[in-house]
Symmetry: C2
């Protein structure tokens, strides 16, 4: 086998493996959203992806690890806020963050996977642990790092609590008038609270 | 049958019926907490209570109605805040409400049934509708009625969102340092936010 053949054979194989990974992750996200963490199995994910269970274990490991990989992708729009949101100037961070989070929730394409994660995290300790790790490392710590106060992490969490609670009541429980209120009206009321938690002396 | 016999027979029967009702409600709360709304059946509740399914239907009606009755009892400590909490003077209502809600969550005896309700409401539309109806009628409307501003209900809901979100992150997702922080430290930060939502111009 000469170099050219090796390269030719090698390239599609790498692509194939990336495709298989994506295929498994998509199937995993669908299974976890539909059935919740507890009722989802590696075997079920493999079946939905049309691959062997051994391949799922090979790429990701345990069910918990598949879940972590699946929610990292699903949560990316909500948690991987652009640097400009989390790391811009401190004045206005409440407004930027609130606007960003409600942007994600208002968009059905990003809301659906997020809802699936929240449901799994509320119902299962392992899923809650994964959610906690990702939220903490990808969003809360980044914001807390900007706040030059001793209890920065607690502040970031209480700010997140206002956002999480508002999203729960508006998009999950659907309490009125909150569920139908104009999103700009909500941002106008929530942003100063988020800002206050982060920077009030 | 003379009057005395009728009364004698009538009294134990009334007691028995109240006991059976309680027995069914207790079994229902346990079933809903353990299995969640979807996987719980009237037949399963009847079996756990040691009665016939027909009796459950007789006392409560449909599964949704059993759920409503069960969570009204379970949520009573959280929602049926004493009049003094919801209806006292407006200054200080944020502090009274926050202190009351965290009191309920800090007590394992009232936290467990509350967690079960939250889990069911997050996972099932019917359960969410029942939760919404009870929270709205028993807590939010009472608080909103005290606030003499045009958007009183939205204000009450955003105040509730801060409380709900903080409880979620502390007791359900268990994000640190929030999960281990002293409850007085949390009340000190959350109460002014709740107050602000309700009364800031």
């Amino acid at each position: 086998m000469n170099d050219v053949t090796a390269r030719k054979r090698g390239r599609p194989r790498r692509t194939e493996s990336a495709d298989t990974r994506d295929l498994i992750l998509t199937a995993a996200r669908e299974e976890f959203s539909e059935r919740g963490y507890e009722k989802t199995s590696v075997r079920g994910i493999a079946k939905a992806a049309g691959v062997d269970s051994a391949l799922v274990h090979h790429y990701f490991g345990t069910k918990e690890q598949v879940f972590e990989a699946a929610i990292e992708v699903a949560a990316a729009p909500a948690l991987g806020a652009p640097d400009a949101v989390a790391e811009g100037p401190l004045e206005g961070v409440g407004e930027r963050l609130t606007r960003y989070i409600f942007g994600v929730w208002e968009n059905p394409a990003t809301r659906t996977p997020l809802l699936a994660i929240v449901r799994s995290a509320v119902n299962n300790e392992t899923a809650a642990a994964v959610f906690r790790r990702i939220v903490a490392s990808q969003l809360l710590r980044r914001i807390a790092a900007q706040v030059d106060l001793p209890d920065a992490e607690l502040r970031a969490e209480l700010a997140a609590a206002q956002l999480v609670g508002t999203a729960m009541l508006r998009y999950v429980i659907k309490v009125e008038p909150l569920a139908s209120a104009d999103v700009e009206q909500i941002i106008a009321r929530v942003a100063p609270v988020v800002q206050g938690h982060l920077t009030n002396p």
